[in-house]
Amino acid sequence: MATTLTLVIAALAVVLSQSAPRLIVSQRVAPLNPVALLKPGSTGCQLARAVPPGTGRLKISAYRQESQTPPLEAMVRAVTGETSRGRIPGGWSNGPISIPVAVPRPGPHLICFHNLGTTSAVLAGRLSRPQRSMRIGGTPAAGRVSVAFLSGEPRSWWRLSGSIERRLAVTAPLGLGRAAVWVALALVLLGWVLAIRLALGMRDPL
């Protein structure tokens, strides 16, 4: 039992210490439908009303159309005209991918994705009206592409604990506020202590 407990705690420590770029704000457009086909050399753009501060990566859901996935470039342009770019090489797998782009300042931006390869890519999002849809070469695509904003620097769960405490407090009941996550943790720990004590007491009397 001690070995299993040690392994579980070690696994927990490893998971909590893993660093990765984390989501900064919720993205309400779900990547549910294939909405934009980026042919080789084409560029799709859409407006983002508010790119949050601290954004260092854009997360999209992309799928291959042919046998290989093409390199993609992301470009963000602020209303002031400041522009930054980032790219990922081809060979990515279907599903969520994140492209590093340092966003110079928060606020509204034009976000564009450029297909640098020789094969097509499909971007996922939600079907929407032409005004809100991504435009590819001036023509509205079938919908708006889901673009999530991730932090630039990787963060571990330990470092994220303050943010989690604050986020959970928004809907915390019974006046718990920022204590809600710690109360939950205390309940879990109490349950663990009790369960382990019980497990230690399990003996065959015969």
């Binding site: 989501l23 549910l32 959970l168 349950g191």
Partner: protein, 500 residues
């Protein structure tokens, strides 16, 4: 599997209530407390209305308390303006099924949400149709108590108060599971603790028990039924036990009618008990079985009367929001669907489910699928879990092989549990069959299997015993720690899904 009888309880002069408390074993109470603590933690970390159908279940209770009536299957809204606007501010529709969707957490989102909370919107629901309207009102009437207790608070306070009742019910479920194991395996007390603890921290059980959902009440009723049934098999069918069994069954049906699936198995069990009573005591046994039927009928009768009194259909009123379409169901289609819902499709059956449901819905759902079923583990976790459960299955098989004589001696009892299981599975398949035909969506969710939680606990206890007398308690302890780890990682998964 020992058939050893317990020692008769010594008579004392202590008052009955104190005696009752003393008869609840401390380990059983502690296992129940673990379940309550675990469910309360789930209640705190799961965002409001992110447990399946929680919006509708909340609305049912709100209709009872605020409008003083029961919802009816009418094509009018079911939710109060308050609940409707709060769920809009929470943007539930954009968060569910969206891997990058999160509840409000920025300052602006929080300000908008709190403006809605403070706007004094009406709490009175129109009381129309939702997918839970046709359920009997028992669970919702019970939830009215915590709702009333927190009536001065925000909608989140009231929801949390209701979640606390669900968490307490999960404690009762685990206590009953412990007591069931005590009757089932009287010679191995440590195995009761192992089975009950693993059940207490099972992630799907904990997650739903931390929310507002009548499945929680169903699981409690089901665990009581299993305990009472094991008791009558071990101690004999007498009038009080038979009546209690009937009342538990009837009450369970009034929480959620899925418990009707147990009825064929219960009928078989009663027949076995009557046959076992012998000629001299057959009349008494028959009388007791009649009391069971009476116990079943009493709560159901009360609910029927309430339905009539509140101008609701006698039992179920269909869905008035959908046109009445003639979905052509056939017995052969149903049987084929039943098979495919749990086992690999045979070559001559028409493909009705398009996937291997045992793996995609039942197994993966049991290992963990949270939120509105949109929060899942990475694929390798399910593969790892399959390995662990295969190991557990081998230990169970070893134990059953060792105890084949005891199994034969208690064949009637096990046939009863088996029939109850098949009945429940058939009930779920019957609902899933017509749902699939009319919507082409999957109906199956692992939580529908959790009325069988006591049997899951029994399998864990048997697996621990399967490790042998020397290693059994250690194997049980290892399974408890693995279950604790599984539960904790599931909670972290949900925290990362909604707040990370």
């Amino acid at each position: 599997m020992s058939t050893t009888d317990v020692q008769p309880h010594a008579r004392t002069d202590t008052p009955p209530r104190v005696r009752l408390c003393r008869r609840v074993p401390r380990a059983g109470g502690a296992c129940a407390l673990v379940a309550v603590l675990n469910a309360l933690a789930w209640a705190l970390i799961t965002p409001p209305f992110e447990v399946p159908d929680e919006t509708q279940h909340f609305s049912y209770t709100q209709t009872i308390v605020e409008a003083g009536r029961l919802p009816r299957p009418l094509a009018i809204p079911s939710q109060s303006p308050e609940e409707r606007e709060v769920t809009k501010a929470l943007d539930l529709a954009s968060v569910g099924g969206n891997p990058v969707g999160r509840p409000p957490w920025t300052r602006n989102e929080a300000a908008r949400l709190h403006a809605v909370l403070d706007s004094g919107l009406s709490r009175i629901p129109p009381g129309g149709f939702s997918n839970v309207t046709n359920y009997p009102p028992l669970y919702y009437a019970a939830e009215a108590v915590p709702y009333l207790a927190a009536r001065d608070g925000s909608i989140f306070d009231r929801l949390m108060a209701m979640r606390i009742l669900s968490a307490l019910l999960s404690g009762v479920t685990v206590l009953m599971t412990f007591l069931f194991l005590r009757e089932l395996l009287p010679g191995t007390p440590w195995a009761w603790t192992a089975g009950a603890l693993v059940a207490a921290v099972q992630p799907t059980f904990g997650f739903v028990s931390g929310g507002v959902n009548n499945d929680v009440g169903l699981w409690t009723a089901s665990a009581i039924v299993f305990w009472l049934l094991a008791r009558v098999f071990r101690r004999g069918l007498n009038a009080p036990r038979a009546l209690a069994l009937g009342l538990a069954l009837g009450t369970g049906v009034c929480v959620k009618p899925n418990l009707l699936g147990f009825f064929p198995g219960i009928a078989l069990g009663l027949l076995v008990l009557i046959a076992r009573a012998g000629r001299s005591r057959r009349r008494t046994a028959l009388g007791s079985a009649a009391l069971t039927a009476l116990g079943i009928a009493a709560p159901i009768g009360i609910v029927l009367a309430i339905n009539v009194g509140f101008d609701r259909p006698l039992w179920t009123g269909g869905d008035p929001t959908k046109p009445v379409t003639s979905v052509s169901t056939t017995w052969t289609g149903l049987l084929s669907y039943f098979w495919q819902s749990y086992l690999p499709r045979l070559w001559f059956l028409k493909d009705q489910v398009h996937e291997y449901v045992l793996w995609t819905d039942w197994f993966k759902g049991f290992v963990g699928r949270f939120g509105w079923l949109d929060t899942t583990w990475r694929p390798w976790v399910y593969d790892l879990a399959l390995g662990v459960f295969t190991g557990i299955a081998c230990l169970v098989a070893a134990e059953l092989a060792k105890q084949h004589a005891a199994l034969r001696a208690r064949a009637g009892e096990f046939a009863t549990y088996f029939s109850m299981t098949i009945g429940l599975l058939a009930m779920i398949a019957a609902a899933g069959y017509s749902y699939r035909l009319s919507t082409d969506f999957a109906f199956e969710q692992a939580r529908y299997l959790l009325p069988l939680l006591p049997l899951y606990a029994a399998l864990i206890a048997l697996a621990a015993r399967g490790a042998g007398r020397r290693w059994g308690p250690a194997a049980g302890a290892v399974m408890v720690v693995l279950a604790l780890g599984h539960g904790l990682f599931a909670q972290l998964l949900v925290v990362s899904r909604f707040y990370g």
